[in-house]
């Protein structure tokens, strides 16, 4: 088992090297010179040249590449051109709120999607199944930004149940300790501050959860249906187990395996969904951070973010594989 994990982690290295190289080249080869972008619309030719020199963009590509990888290995991600800040620090500040939002979205997606899917499988051709399946179709087809805007309009502006945008109310100061707003809110010891953070989290989390929720419910339903038809369940019923024990004790655990795969993949998707959700709701997070960086051609930030996200996704896929082994005793890693 340990050997397997170490091997899996070792495989991440060539993947990362590939990601690093592709990101490096892509940012330099796509049309649109960063120096022109950064110097602004009003810059003179001399200023653009000066900018190119200051950023080291006038050096040959291989030299830039070696320099870039050397800094990366030392954990030096450089400075953001847009904000002038230390990228490592800015990534920490922006990653935490996105992870927080993704977890909240995942919790909502599982809490609603899983029972809905299982129920739909158990109550075939009833209203429950139709509602679940139509609901999941809607959830998967609606653009995230549209759902976000509708929630803002109806539950925020019209009903006034939720704030319209932001991570916390303007004027509330939360000392940044962990950069997870809910945790930092709790650490203030002030219930109202924590509530304010949660209050701001609800609509974005629902928005971000919709696609995952739809996929989870469909997946849970189909894999549950498959398991319900299998012979060992007939055996379980035949030996007189109650329905509840058959479903929860025997069927559900096996039905969950494909769902775990989907959830693992969805964690990566949630990070990309965060770009739109964070922008619509004006939340702090890595999605909006990288979007701003792309718009400003802040290539050091784009590079660093893509690499960190790649590491993150690679780690998730390892964890997903390990969870398989926990759920299914037939799976053994050597």
């Amino acid at each position: 088992m340990r050997g397997y994990v170490l091997r899996r982690i070792a495989y991440v290295v060539p993947v990362l090297l590939g990601v690093v190289t592709v990101v490096f080249l892509a940012l330099r080869l796509i049309p649109g010179d960063p120096a022109v972008a950064l110097a602004g619309e009003k810059a003179s030719a001399a200023q653009i040249e000066q900018m190119r020199e200051a950023l080291g963009l006038n050096r040959p590509l291989p030299v830039q590449y070696v320099d870039f990888v050397a800094h990366l290995v030392r954990g030096d991600l450089g400075r953001s051109i847009r904000t002038g800040g230390d990228i490592r620090q800015e990534l920490v500040e922006n990653f935490a709120p996105t992870i927080e939002l993704s977890i909240a979205a995942l919790v909502i997606a599982l809490a609603v999607g899983l029972p809905a899917g299982v129920l739909a499988a158990l109550r075939r051709r009833t209203l429950i199944e139709y509602v679940t399946m139509i609901g999941s179709l809607v959830g998967i087809s609606m653009p995230v930004f549209w759902i976000g805007l509708m929630l803002i309009y109806w539950l925020g502006a019209r009903a006034e149940w939720f704030p319209l945008s932001g991570t916390v109310s303007a004027g509330l100061e939360i000392p940044a300790r962990t950069h997870f707003y809910t945790v930092d809110g709790l650490l203030t010891g002030n219930v109202a501050v924590f509530a304010d953070v949660v209050w701001h989290l609800v609509l974005p989390a629902i928005t971000l959860s919709t696609i995952t929720m739809a996929i989870v419910s469909r997946m849970a339903r189909s894999s549950m249906l498959e398991v319900l038809g299998s012979e060992y369940l007939v055996t379980a019923r035949a030996k007189g187990l109650r329905d509840r024990a058959v479903v929860l004790g025997h069927a559900l655990k096996n039905a969950l395996i494909p769902v775990v795969t989907v959830v693992g993949l969805q964690l990566g998707a949630l990070l990309s969904g965060a770009v739109l959700t964070e922008t619509v709701f004006g939340r702090v997070g890595v999605g909006r951070y990288v979007l701003n960086a792309i718009t400003a051609r802040d290539y050091p930030v784009v590079q660093a973010t893509v690499i960190v996200v790649a590491i993150f996704v690679a780690l998730i896929s390892i964890i997903v594989d390990l969870v398989y082994a926990m759920l299914d005793p037939r799976i053994r890693y050597r």
Binding site: P31, G32, D33, V36, A37, L38, G40, E41, K42, A43, S44, A45, Q47, Q50, M51, A54, R79, S80, I81, R82, T83, G84, G85, E93, N94, L149, I152, Y153, G156, A157, E160, P163, L164, S165, G166, T167, V168, S169, A170, G171, L172, E173, A176, V191, A192, V193, F194, A195, D196, V198, W199, T279, V280, G282, V284, R288, Y289, N292, A296, R297
Partner: protein, 536 residues
Amino acid sequence: MKSSNMTRRDLLRAAGAATIIAACAPAAQPGATSTGKAAAATGTLTFLWGGDTDKLDPPAMTTQEGFIATTALYEGLVRYKPNSTDIEPALAERWDISSDGLAYTFHLRSGVKFHDGSALTGEAVAFTFDRSINKDNALFKEAQSAGGFPFIDDYIGNVVAKVEAVGPLDVRFTLRRKFSPLLSNLAIPPAYVISMDALKKFGSKINENPVGTGPFKFVEWKKDDHITVENFEGYWGGQAKLQRIIFQPVPEASVRILKIQRGEGDIAWPFDPKDAPSVKGKAETDVLEQAGLNVNMAEFNLKKPQFQNKALRQALNYAINKQELADKLYSGAGVAAVGALPPTSWGFDSALKGYPYDPEKAKALLKTAGYTGDTIILDSYTIPRGYNPQGAKLAEAIQQYFQAVGVKSEIKTTEWTEYRKIRRQGQLNIAFGGWQADTGDPENFLGVFFYSKNQGGVNTSFYGTPEVDKLLEQANEETDVAKRKSLFNQAEAKIVDDAPWLFIGHMKQQVAIRKRVKGFVLQPTYIYYFNSVSVS
């Protein structure tokens, strides 16, 4: 199974707690943490904009948001008068210009303190400018890896050889050549004066720790979330009325307007002009607007033989219905152009007629020009710009106007950064573009676009005539404002007649505001002063 019951009960308990928490959440509203220290200053103003500023270091920032936020924190030697591009004293009480026009000596106000308690001196002013324009300065070098100081050279660095203290409260700018726009240029945010002590202490990190002399002092900047500034009791010019200002990015334009309607924000800028009716003239909200200090145009690439035909250029100018564009394409947020200068510039010539919409005249001129039906290429960028929020849709509209007078055209769009690059190389044809002025000086429109030495820089129509060059040079050397205006008017009249551009329009500056805000005045430069703003 027992444990699962427990869990459910716990869940219910937690849900109950959540309801209670949600119920008290609305209590956590803006201003909840106001310290209320200064008795005279009250209330919090929330200013909403689309994106956060890139930086808060005056010479390093490149966004309008930064220009606005730093204006609460910092001041320059001079500033603009309310809703005007005229100059008035700020940190400098008065100034002398040497008879050869090459030395400007500023006499500073005494008793001015920075937020860190240090005093404003001639030395401190010289220190700020040496950092931003002297390429051998260690602090200048330090700033380069994060983008450097992109604007200051255009406005100050290229003409000012050195800045030195010549007395405890006196500072002298020595110029390389006569340059009368200097005074106006010193009012823009990149020329704000920074505390010398703070610069020595923080270096480039002054970006995250701004220390100026402005009416508000810095509290915190949570990037992409908010900037908070607080009343500075030691302000020399009479304490500001607000206790706090919070600048908050709200990326969705429609959400910004919803927030204004609901009272989650006091001022929103910018916003979609289509949303204006939902806040304009309402019980609680309103819209402030005026022509902006910008221009929206398309330029003829005069390097190409096809466009070296003046009658053709004039014909195409007559073919466009500028008023219709302002009303329809820009939903009433546009103003038709007669030339390059907007009506809010002090150099605007109200006698200038420009090219009123006249398709018949256009057709006649096309005949004179010998237009034979060849296809003209319209080069357009894709993204919305401040002076053209409709992006490439403008090109489609122009194409239709051309078609109506029998001119065939084809639209070619290019990604923005690449577009600017090839445009400067002279590869485009009729190329859309525009300008948002940084200073109130007409030089900031006419000089940058039509002075022959700026060809390939901002002058990408590659226009240049000895006559206009001479007028612009004279206008830059003359210090008398009335004489300068006359010189600019003569230059613009000649430029408009030569028609190197399709003169299209100017976008209005629009701000959505809650009526509880008093004393907020629009500025042509978008550099808003918060000194006398209050909330009721």
